[in-house]
Symmetry: C2
């Protein structure tokens, strides 16, 4: 879905950001599309942001990195905030494609929780983003900066916790696992994943055993009722 | 202890960073001490870093913020890395004074764990640093940047987890609480604290109930043996 969605978002940004000379904007955009799509620019923005934080992004830096004109990037995104918001959206799509969607083939409940966690571990160990988890790198950075970038970042975290909570709820209702406070459990699992991601970015010594810790914490919530 | 420690560190930095013109360096330093101490500069650096990350620090910016000459700041710290390392050290002292040292009056074991957590909650709710927890703001930021700043940051985290683990171990050995994997428990508690700190920086809606979550997680590890 994301390719089509991205395109209509690109149009929205151009139209709202443009103002004068609509035709010039559109032909600029076509030129850029020919060489490197907006998606490529945003994907690179996501990589930079996973390493240095969304704060480290700038329209000029991306233009330099990718060998395109700054005015072209400016035409597409208008402001740094638009670029940051677009990066959050693409990061979310990449995360969903890697972690959330594959788990849909697993039966709901405990089995799906396990698949989600294994996919997450893979995502953190062989990262899709060079700096590891995009959210771990940016949530703490943006928590003191109100605005739509922060809102978008936290919406992703809320969605992820809600997904874990829903599957735990399903497992408990089906009698697969002992009754538990699913909100609290999802909060704890998410916290442990973020801590594990940090450890995985560090030395081998620091990372040693951390995936095992994650699995043990999750299994602690998946014990059958007695 | 920290005041004396800071001073000898300042000297060490000046001596290693200086090189030529030792007398000029010392008189520069005396001038600066008269107006604003190194501690004031570093304390401001810690505040900036808690909000914008250690990456947001620069010698020039601190000089401007505090109305002192950039060359004076340069004389004291030499490099941005020295300044960042000094900021980590002061942040650790502030944290220890606020959270770790007061808990020493509590009996070892479960009681001390509870005091540590309550002091930590206070530290995160009415933050000593304007951006909230200094480590939450910087660990994720520095995890992909090897070097002595990262090492110093992670040493603080290791010390904190080791302290929690030691008190849990004490509680279990004394039969106060049920046997548990204290390393895993300390890892989980630390992860939940960092997640709570992030929530506390956000809207009231996001922060609602998060301190209660922290307490419930901790109490979950402090159940008496059956």
């Amino acid at each position: 879905m994301s390719e089509r969605k991205q395109r209509s978002d690109a149009d929205a940004v151009v139209h709202s950001g443009g103002g004068e000379g609509g035709d010039a904007v559109i032909s600029d955009q076509r030129l850029l599309r020919g060489a490197r799509s907006r998606r490529t620019i945003v994907r690179h923005a996501v990589d930079v942001a996973s390493l240095e934080g969304l704060g480290g992004l700038s329209l000029g830096r991306l233009a330099t990195d990718l060998g395109i004109s700054k005015s072209g990037v400016q035409t597409l995104f208008g402001t740094k905030e638009n670029l940051q918001a677009a990066a959050v959206e693409v990061a979310r799509d990449v995360f969903n494609d890697a972690v959330v969607h594959p788990a849909r083939t697993a039966p709901r409940g405990a089995a799906r929780v396990r698949v989600l966690i294994e996919r997450w571990v893979e995502y953190a160990e062989v990262p899709l983003f060079p700096g590891g988890c995009f959210w771990a790198a940016n949530l703490a950075d943006f928590d003191s900066r109100p605005g739509r970038v922060r809102d978008a970042l936290f919406q992703c975290q809320r969605d992820w916790r809600a997904l874990l909570a829903a599957e735990l709820r399903h497992a408990a209702d089906a009698g697969e696992i002992a009754e538990l406070d699913v909100e609290l459990a999802a909060f704890q699992i998410d916290a442990v994943l973020i801590a594990a991601n940090t450890a995985l970015r560090m030395s081998d010594e620091e990372a040693y055993g951390v995936v095992d810790k994650v699995r043990r914490v999750v299994e602690g919530f998946l014990v059958p009722p007695h």
